[in-house]
């Protein structure tokens, strides 16, 4: 069977002066074209049907995204332009809520607290998670036990952990004060000082490093053993192998954990809500906690929405910035 060519297809509708042989040939071509057209149509129908089915199957996610992400985002943007308590008639505020943000001393303070927390907790969390992942990756028989033990603290809910920490840092009975007491330091209420209270919350965040460690562990398992073997043959020691092979090849995982860590760091809330209620002297009043208080304690939904929009934009900008800078340090391919 002659293949259907574009030429043949192009000539399909005209009178052919070349005789019956050519006519027969043309008929064959026309038949082929029809069959091809049918096949294409059938293929398209299958594709459309698959698309419909696919959409139907992921519709719970789509509906969830539209209802619980897209709609609140747009609604929040609209409410940020209003003076609105949530129950009374809203009035248009224009950019009033945004200019108020620029003048609000508590926004400055809560932003500083949040950056202080994120600036310490995120890099420290990455380091702790990486160390945990390396331990979880150790080639020993009891590795399953280690993995369970190291991941277990991540399963404790944050609010439960917060209550535990209240006891942990008790000046008289708490383990933390006992430990620092070994170094000659007197017992103190570390939750009673703004800086140390923030540091306690940073410390507490490290107990959740197991989640990031699991992602690191997956990344570690993707690094080919042959690279380590070759490096060992070339005389590279463990430290050199770590910095030349492990770290560069883990860079996409580091990037992922960094972005999610910063996103989580900017949304720090529960620990301050339970441990310190934002105090002392607003020392642990984090941005999201202040936003929450405006929305629900003071019923200033317009202002709280404006704060949410600003947080969204800052988070977005940071993510874009990190992705742009990541081109310099992230290695996606292994060039063996």
């Amino acid at each position: 069977m002659a293949p259907s060519t574009p030429t043949g297809t192009r000539h399909g509708g005209r009178t052919d002066p070349a005789g019956p042989a050519n006519r027969a040939s043309n008929a064959t071509r026309a038949g082929n074209a029809t069959r091809a057209g049918n096949a294409i149509r059938a293929g398209n129908a299958i594709r459309r049907r698959n698309l419909r089915l696919g959409l139907a199957f992921i519709s719970p996610w789509i509906i969830g995204f539209l209802a619980f992400v897209a709609y609140p985002l747009i609604y929040s943007l609209a409410v940020s332009l209003l003076n609105y308590t949530g129950l009374q008639q809203p009035t248009f505020a224009g950019v009033g809520n945004y200019t108020r943000i620029a003048q609000d001393p508590l926004v400055v303070k809560s932003t500083w607290n949040t950056l202080f927390y994120a600036g310490l907790a995120v890099p420290l969390g990455l380091a702790v998670a990486l160390v945990l992942a390396l331990c979880m990756n150790a080639r020993v028989r009891e590795v399953g036990l280690y993995r369970t033990a190291l991941y277990l603290p991540s399963l404790v809910p944050v609010f439960a952990l917060s209550f535990i920490f209240v006891v942990f840092v008790n000046p008289q009975y708490g383990l933390f004060n006992r430990i620092v007491g070994w170094f000659g330091l007197p017992p103190e209420n570390y939750l009673g000082d703004p800086t140390s209270a923030k540091l306690i919350i940073v410390l507490m965040a490290q107990l959740a490093a197991g989640n990031a460690a699991l992602i690191f562990l997956a990344g570690l398992n993707n690094i080919p053993d042959s690279l380590y073997e070759a490096a060992t043959v070339d005389g590279a020691g463990p430290l050199r192998r770590f910095f030349v092979i492990t770290l560069p090849l883990l860079s996409p995982t580091i990037l992922f954990n960094l972005v999610t860590g910063i996103s989580g760091g900017l949304q720090i809330f529960t620990q301050a809500y339970i441990l310190t209620e934002g105090g002392p002297n607003n020392g642990t009043l984090f941005y999201l906690y202040y936003l929450y208080k405006n929305a629900f304690s003071y019923a200033q939904l317009g202002y709280a929405s404006a704060l949410a929009v600003v947080l969204f934009l800052v988070g977005l900008l940071l993510a874009v910035l990190i992705y742009t800078l990541s081109r310099r340090f992230v290695t996606y391919e292994v060039n063996g």
């Binding site: 089915l53 308590t85 129950l87 008790n170 007197p186 009673g192």
Partner: protein, 444 residues
């Protein structure tokens, strides 16, 4: 399983919770009552009252619900319930928050309901309790209970420290700050590490709020004429100067460690350095008697007036308390109103006062010895006209929080009195400006 069956099953599974969410969650004639931060003891006493109401009103059903919240001004649950059309019928909360909650549309004006009642329904209540639950001509709540503040002292610890407790006998009048410090210095002790093991007086613990000491200084907090928080008032500023001096005198971090040791955050009411002979004096409200009887029944204690600046100064105190209100969107307003009238009636308050050691809000009941035998000292403070309340402003809780946060800054040495006043103004005035002018004649 065919795809069609799977999809139908999935749709069915999704429909069940949707149907459940839309199904009616309450029975007819049910009165849903939210109690803010109600302890188990309080809920038990309220349960007895609710039972009595149900017996007197066959067919009515009272459902008591405890709602926990953070801080006085936290209206999170109320806001979400109202927006979700599941508002309770009755809310029992801090009376001084009603002006703020009402001004934001969370509470109903009860004036139309009062119009159908005896004209003097509110006339028998202590005037400040009525004023505290009103704002801009609207009545947002009916007062249920009140309290008063005093200086409690642990007689055993004072004796052990060589102090005769008789020096704090209220018959001698209000002690001066100097006298209290003199006593406290004899009690306070430290261990080898320099940590406090015993303290005589902590002038920022429990009810020793900035507002408490504002009264000692005759401070003006809110200037009605200019609708401004009176941060220029010398008495107001003096409170923060005192806190700064007291923090230096006692070494604030050491006291903070002491408090966190014996009364850590979220501690139960049974835990108090006053109960276990660690703290000699404490500024607490009248209802503390309930805790003393329950958790430290053998403690030898007394109570006197709050310290005054100079010998012979007139005593002072202040009162808060709770009230019943009807939130916006309540489904069963008629029954809610009947329930509120019963709870705030002399019969309702009598049960509450006797069981929980609160003071009644009905003036005549303060003279009933059978009701308030334990609280004679505090009842006399109210009868004597010392029961001031916090100014019920549309930003009352926000102001309260700002004043207390400013205190933390001063105690920590991170700000001075001037910065504290500036911080209060910056925090509260922009919010207050939205409501100015604020109707005069409220509070006090």
């Amino acid at each position: 399983m065919s795809r069609r069956t799977l999809l139908l099953a999935a749709a069915g599974a999704a429909a069940v919770p949707t149907w459940a969410a839309c199904a009616p969650a309450r029975r007819p004639n049910e009165i849903v009552v939210w109690v803010k931060s109600g302890s188990s003891d309080m809920m038990e006493s309220l349960g007895i009252l609710a039972e009595t109401y149900q017996q007197r009103n066959p067919g009515k059903l009272v459902r008591l619900v405890t709602v926990q919240s953070r801080g006085d001004d936290d209206a999170t649950l109320l806001i979400t319930a109202i927006r979700g059309n599941t508002a309770p019928d009755v809310f029992l909360g801090d009376r001084f928050t009603f002006a703020q909650f009402g001004s934001r549309g969370l509470l109903q004006d009860l004036s139309p309901l009062l119009a159908g009642e005896d004209a003097d329904l509110l006339g028998g209540f202590l005037p400040f309790t009525v004023n505290e639950a009103a704002y801009n001509g609207a009545v947002y709540g009916i007062p249920f209970d009140t309290d008063s503040r005093g200086l409690y002292f642990n007689k055993g610890l004072l004796r052990d420290s060589g102090v005769d407790p008789a020096v704090l006998d209220p018959a001698r009048g209000a002690p001066t700050f100097d006298q209290v410090w003199e006593i406290a210095d004899k009690v306070s002790r430290t261990d080898a590490a320099g940590s406090y093991t015993h303290l005589g007086f902590i002038p920022w613990e429990e009810q020793a709020w900035p507002f408490t000491w504002c009264l000692a200084n005759d401070a003006v907090i809110f200037d009605e004429a200019s609708c401004r928080i009176a941060v220029d008032d010398p008495g107001f500023r003096q409170v923060y100067a005192d806190y700064r001096d007291w923090a230096r005198r006692l070494d604030y971090p050491k006291v903070d460690a002491f408090v966190a040791t014996y009364k850590p955050p979220n501690a139960p009411p049974s835990q108090s350095p006053f109960f276990n002979d660690r703290l000699a004096t404490s500024v607490v409200f009248s209802n503390f008697i309930f805790n003393l009887k329950k958790y430290a029944p053998k403690l030898d204690w007394g109570v006197t007036y709050l310290p005054v600046r100079a010998d012979g100064d007139e005593p002072y105190s202040w009162s808060g308390g709770s009230g019943f209100t009807i939130p916006t969107g309540a489904a069963n307003v008629e029954d809610a109103w009947e329930f509120i009238k019963f709870m705030t009636s002399p019969q309702g308050q009598a049960v509450w006062v006797q069981r929980q050691n609160y003071l009644p809000t009905r003036t005549a009941m303060l003279s009933d010895e059978s009701l308030i035998a334990d609280q004679r000292f505090f009842a006399d403070l109210l009868i004597g006209g010392y029961g001031h309340s916090r100014p019920p402003l549309p930003v009352g809780p926000a102001l309260w929080e700002a004043m207390n946060t400013a205190r933390e800054g001063v105690l920590l040495g991170q700000s001075g009195p001037d910065e504290a006043m500036a911080e209060i103004a910056r925090r509260v005035q922009p919010e207050l400006d939205q409501y100015c002018p604020v109707s005069p004649g409220l509070g006090r």
